[in-house]
Symmetry: C2
Subunit: 309 residues, 2 copies
Amino acid sequence: MDARVKGAEVAAGFELGAWCAERLARVERALDQWLPADAPAGLGEAMRYAVLDGGKRLRPLLVMAASEAVRGHEEAALRAGCAVELIHAYSLVHDDMPCMDNDVLRRGKPTVHVRFGQATALLAGDALQALAFEFLTPEPDDAGGVPQAAQARLCALLARAAGHAGMAGGQAIDLAAVGRTLTEDELRRMHRLKTGALLQASVMMGVACGNATPDAAAALADYGRAVGLAFQVVDDILDVTADSATLGKTPGKDAAQDKPTYISLLGLERARGYARELLEQARGALVASGLEDTRALRGLAELVVDREH
Amino acid sequence: MDARVKGAEVAAGFELGAWCAERLARVERALDQWLPADAPAGLGEAMRYAVLDGGKRLRPLLVMAASEAVRGHEEAALRAGCAVELIHAYSLVHDDMPCMDNDVLRRGKPTVHVRFGQATALLAGDALQALAFEFLTPEPDDAGGVPQAAQARLCALLARAAGHAGMAGGQAIDLAAVGRTLTEDELRRMHRLKTGALLQASVMMGVACGNATPDAAAALADYGRAVGLAFQVVDDILDVTADSATLGKTPGKDAAQDKPTYISLLGLERARGYARELLEQARGALVASGLEDTRALRGLAELVVDREH
């Protein structure tokens, strides 16, 4: 991440690279500790394989940055960040399966069903979704003082972002859209659900770890919406411009599968302009939030859009 | 259910049939109302198909009976009961898929992947799991006063019962056990996780809707454990004794798939004796709980064991 992070340094006295490195270390440590090593019959091994040692952890970073901006509960934010990452990871496991995208490589490694078989991949994904809600509801001894009201609120946000009105709903639209021409509105709706909902929920879960004013919370929701959409636009750009080493997956796949993208809809140049516009919206929302220190959030938004370079 | 319920009338002044009928009506109404009709691209239709109009709703009945025994919160118990049912329903959808049990009939109807395709079945199962946690964490306007502490506790119980240390873990053992001989201990462990964990969690979620003493809660946990195990023993018995009309699925399947069962391990007569013994354990636990009115719980335990007749 270092080279990319460098370009996104935001302000004097703040080093996004150092900020990310410290949080990433905590996230990796927590995931390694909380993912079961001893789940029965190889299930734990498959769950760990799906989550550990890969991924940019953008969602946990967004949770933690938002939580810090509202002076949220540190342990709650770490748990929430790891929980969102599990939902993201399980969705990739199921997405890669033969009945969905039928992908054999993910982050340069064989996908979970290739390595462990389809049945175990299906179960590992299911168990990761359940584990996300376990992370959010620690037993009293482990609770680190996470208040039960915050636990309930975090579960509410995550469930809605993951389910039929969020990620799973977006995937259903995506499935139904292969080979069809979508309007820009339809495409935006699909992405708002498929990837945007979980990215926005990451921000709102961070907010739920603290006590933001309704105005600040609304501004951070705007920020999350813009970053979520920008992420997808840039993903579509990378699918046509990057090589597979940079991407960690097969490029050109969208066009090959005749999937509608921002490139097929807007062309490359207008898609790039749209990504810049969304970055400006995200920056504006942070200013509007009135929060004192939103440098990490700003840096992460820049990172999302600058992935291309 | 009427004929079966008749044999299980428990005590003067209490009619299990009437008790069940009233709760079942509330559960069906709530599920119909809370399952999305408008989820994108056919996803809602598949989710509703998987849940509505089938199933004995044993798990919601256990939640509500346990909640009533501890004078629990009525709305919380209804939500918890429906949430457990969604977890049960999603597990059937995924279990029936070609990469797992490859079943084409469920409750006399085509299974979800036969009707809607594998990709939609996978997503519908995923979305049902998320929806379970949505049910447990209603928005403030809909909360019916369910306290957030109870919401958090219910999410904690359900996540653990559904995940790697519960249902999904048991399914992984089951997968790995096909064609192998299990010891009685191994078989019991598999079932304790695969079906027992969710049945016991149903009881404990009912308990979490009220304020039981630790002793009463421990006794109801014993009850739940015994009922969960009895359920599986009777299931194995029915697989060899019932016809497909009674069973609603293909009988004799376990033996055909060379799956270890209580019949292959104990033989039919000893398995029947074991089911009676578990029923006695469940009844004993209710007496030990010291709770005033456990007639519905007692009746449900009898119903589970008397399914055979």
